[in-house]
Each structure stands twice: as C-alpha cells, then as structure tokens.
C-alpha cells in the first residue's frame, strides 16, 4: 500500500536534480553583537550523504544548523535547500521546505506539556491529517521503537532523562520521513550502547532512504562511523573538510590538537 509519504515522494521527485546538493551554504556569516560566530562558511551535502560537523564548544555549530533551517537569519551569505535560496521566502514556502527537514535540537526541545507519544505525533497531527488516526498511532509506536523509547510513551518529558529526551527528539525529527536530517549532538549524553544504536539508525536511514544529513557531534568515534565527510569549525571558519583519514594526515596545528584530545 502506498502511504501518503510515498505519494508525496514520487510527486516531489522530478524537481530534484541529483547534481544539485541537497543542502548548500555559501559564505555564511553570523554575528551576535560584537561576537563573530560564523565568518564565511561554505559546506554542502548531497543525497545519501552524511556530513559530521565538529568543533569546540561555542564554535557556532548549533548556530549553523539554526541558520540552515531558517530559525536564525544570516548577516550575509546564503542557504540553499535543493538549490532554492531560503532567504526572503514567505512563511508557507519555508514551511514546505521545513517539512522535508528533520531537526533535532541540542537540548531536545520537547514540548513539555505533551507526553512522549504526543511529542512524536505532533508533526503528524499537524501535517498528515489525511492519515487515519490509528495509522498515525502505529507510526508513532514504530518511531519510538526505532529509538528504543517504546516503553515510556506515556511519560512527560520532565520525567525522563536527558538522553531519553534526545532519543524522543530524534523520533519526532523522523516523524515526517524527512529527506534532510539536521542533528545537533544526537548521541551526547547517551551511554555507549544507546549511542551505538542511534549511529546504526542514522546509517540505516541513510542507506534505505538516501537522506542527506548534517550531524553535529563531539563524538569522534560516532562521526567516523556515520559520516562520509567531516568538517571542523574554528574561529568562524571551516578549518578542514574531508574524510577522517584526511583529518589525521593534516598538518594544521588545530586539527592535530583536536584529534589528539578527542
């Protein structure tokens, strides 16, 4: 049976040219007051590709993700989603783009008045009203099972741990079967086993659905596992971008130091 998602996918397909990166940022600059956070960032991700973004705390990784989804606006530079510049888009057009993006916030940002299951159902309840309620319920159960949270669906976010909130946030990000995943430290605060499971899940999604993902992480092991490419941010710039081996072989002082301490 074709789900609403399959239909949307096949209808949405023609406009997507595979030679255009799914997500691209060009010369992105962002300052807060006098604090220069991003100073000309260029990055791109293709279909089926995962980019890991690394950098010290405060390097501007979260800001980068927020700029890509348009919650924050850049001082200059552009963000392209499927080749479309998101600057100045009307809220409806931005909504169409955002529905294709699954976003995991660094601190999960679950709706604290809703239960775990309602949190995951939230995007479905708003954007998939065509889907029968029971089907939505099944989908929520399946998503929670994927992140290993099926047992706690009735709890409120305040009654589960930070790592569990993160996993629920990931389930919510996946609810609309996005084509793009933006994950802010998906495995931070997780034990090694859960962390490995989340990595597996991201890999599986990438394989099965050819998602394009940008994953911010401090976990070099996880970055190596899931990412095709890694980008290291420092002082508002991409210091190096490439495979893990490229980073290892780099003779840039900061890169070597970063790897030494990870």
């Amino acid at each position: 049976m074709a789900t609403a998602y399959d239909i949307a996918m096949t209808q949405g397909q023609p406009e997507e040219d595979s030679s255009v990166p799914v997500v691209a940022v060009e010369n992105l600059r962002k300052t807060f007051g006098i604090l220069k956070v991003l100073d000309g960032i260029n990055l791109s991700v293709n279909r089926g590709e995962t980019l890991a973004v690394l950098g010290r705390s405060g390097a501007g990784k979260s800001v980068l993700l927020r700029l890509i989804i348009g919650i924050e606006t850049p001082d200059s530079g552009s963000v392209f989603i499927h080749g479309q510049n998101i600057a100045g888009l009307a809220i409806d057009q931005m909504g169409t783009i955002r529905k294709k993006i699954g976003f995991l916030f660094q601190h999960a940002a679950l709706y604290d008045s809703l239960t775990v299951a309602e949190n995951v159902a939230f995007p479905l309840d708003h954007h998939r009203r065509d889907m029968p309620r029971s089907e939505r319920g099944d989908r929520v159960k399946q998503l929670l099972a994927e992140v290993g949270m099926e047992g706690d669906f009735r709890k409120l976010p305040s009654d589960i741990s930070g790592g569990m909130q993160k996993r629920v946030g990931l389930a919510r990000a996946l609810a609309l079967e996005p084509e793009i995943l933006l994950l802010d430290e998906p495995t931070a605060g997780l034990d090694p086993i859960s962390s490995g499971e989340i990595d597996e899940l991201i890999l599986k999604l990438q394989r099965e659905r050819q998602m394009a993902s940008i994953v911010v992480t401090h976990d070099l092991h996880s970055a190596r596992t899931i990412a095709d490419r890694l980008a290291l941010l420092d002082q508002g710039n991409v210091v190096i971008e490439g495979k893990f081996e490229d980073l290892q072989q780099s003779n840039i002082g900061f890169v070597a130091e970063f790897l030494k301490h990870s």
Partner: protein
C-alpha cells in the same frame, strides 16, 4: 545633565521600539490567525484554560465586590434618605462600573501571567523554535489561539462576575432588610433597558485583546533563562493591567458618546 538627557532619550527610544515591535507582532498574529489551517483543537483548549478555569476566580471576586458595594451603597443611600434606590444603585455599580474592570484586572493577573510565563518558558527552552522547525507557524498555533480565547471569554466571564456580585449584593441586603430576589432584580433594572448594559459588558472583549496580546508578545520575545521567564510574567501582568485601565478610560468615553 547629559546623562539625564541620554537616559531620557533611551527611555523614549525604548518606548517607541516596544510599540513598534508590538505592532509587527500584532500584524504577524493577525496574518497567521486569519488564514487556514485553523488550530481548532488548541483554541478549544485555550477557551477552557482562559474561560472555564477562571470561573471560580471571577465568581469569588464578583461575590466580594457585591458585598462591598452593597454595604457601601446602603450606608450612603440611607444617609440621603434614598434607600429605595438601593437595587438600581447596586445593579448600576456592578454592571456598568465594577464588574467589567474587576474581571479585566483579575483575569489579567491569572491569564496574563499564565500565558506570559508559559510562552516565555517555551521560548527559552527552544520549544517555539521547535514548532517553527516543524513547519508550524507559532503565531498561529500559540498566539492567535490564546488571544482569541481571551477576546471571546472576557465578556462571558464578566457576566459571571456580574451575576455573583448581584447575588451576594442582594444577599447582604436581605440580611438587614428582607427583599425577594425577584423584587430586587425588578427594581434594579426598572427604567433601564438591557441595551444599556451590553456595551459595558462587551467592551471587555477589548480587555481580552489587550491581556492576550501583551502576554503573548512579552512571552514570545523573552530572552535569558529563568529570570527572563519571571520578567515576562511580571511584565505581562503589569503592562496588561495598566493598558486595561487606560483602555477603560477611552472605552467609557467612547461608549458614552456612541450609546448616549
């Protein structure tokens, strides 16, 4: 001297900036709220939150002012030998003057602080960003529903306040001078058409607009952690009640001119 001028211009700038931002905010809410998809479910939840759950509070406030007005009115009227005017005086004071403004202020305290704090804490914990990231317009989902609920519920709550005030006002009077409730109401409303009281009741919709709008605005522009949340709640109540009182001045004059 210069610093006084500087801080004065700062204050003036801040004042205009606040109003400018409020204007932009209102426009965004109006645009979002007036276009589909409508958030019926959230609206119903808010009607319950603002309306039903405030009923005990306005009932108590109404009951209290009913007794106070009754005591005061009996005392002053008997001094002038106009005791027969008691029912009309009570009805007039409650319906025209005290009921609407007391409801406005009490609801501003309860609902204004509630909305201000709720939205502020959603803002600082990135929940509002998460709504946006989910391709949902937070002006539509959060602000428009709450403001509309306030607009719709304030007149109804005012009727609740009025009813309780009349009831306790009458009751306090019967303890001294027995008078049936029926007689009391008949005497109270004699000579005044029902229409005389409608504008006074429905003007509270404007209070609702003010309370909802200011609380949503203060909540959604919050920055800076728990302190910011506290400040948003306080400002929602302080500014809300201030503007409710100022609006009352304008509305009373307006009603006197339009409905002579």
């Amino acid at each position: 001297m210069l610093s006084v001028v500087n801080s004065a211009t700062g204050l003036v700038n801040g004042f205009f900036e606040w109003f400018g931002n409020l204007g932009i905010f209102s426009w965004n809410v109006l645009k979002a709220g007036a276009t589909p998809p409508y958030e019926w479910q959230e609206l119903i939840r808010q009607l319950d939150e603002v309306g039903s759950k405030s009923l005990p509070l306005v009932a108590m406030a109404g009951a209290a002012i009913g007794v106070v007005i009754s005591l005061e009115a009996r005392y002053s009227l008997s001094r002038f030998g106009a005791k027969s005017m008691f029912p009309a005086t009570l009805v007039y004071s409650v319906l025209q003057v005290m009921g609407p403004i007391i409801t406005g202020l009490v609801i501003c305290g309860r609902v204004g602080a509630g909305i201000g704090a709720e939205l502020a804490s959603m803002k600082v914990t990135e929940q509002i960003d998460a709504i946006e990231a989910c391709a949902i317009n937070p002006y539509r989902l959060l602000a428009a529903t709450r403001i509309l609920a306030c607009i719709l519920m304030l007149p109804l709550l005012t009727l609740g306040t009025d009813a309780c005030a009349l009831l306790t006002g009458w009751f306090a009077q019967t303890l001294v001078e027995p008078l049936s409730f029926h007689q009391f109401i008949q005497a109270g409303f004699k000579g005044s058409t029902f229409n005389a009281f409608l504008p006074q009741t429905f003007k509270t919709a404007v209070y609702g607009l003010i309370i909802g709008l200011i609380a949503c605005f203060q909540g959604m522009r919050t920055r800076g952690g728990a302190e910011g949340v506290g400040r948003a709640a306080t400002n929602s109540v302080v500014l809300g009640s201030l503007f409710v009182i100022l609006a009352d001045v304008v509305l009373v004059k307006f009603i006197l001119v339009v409905f002579p």
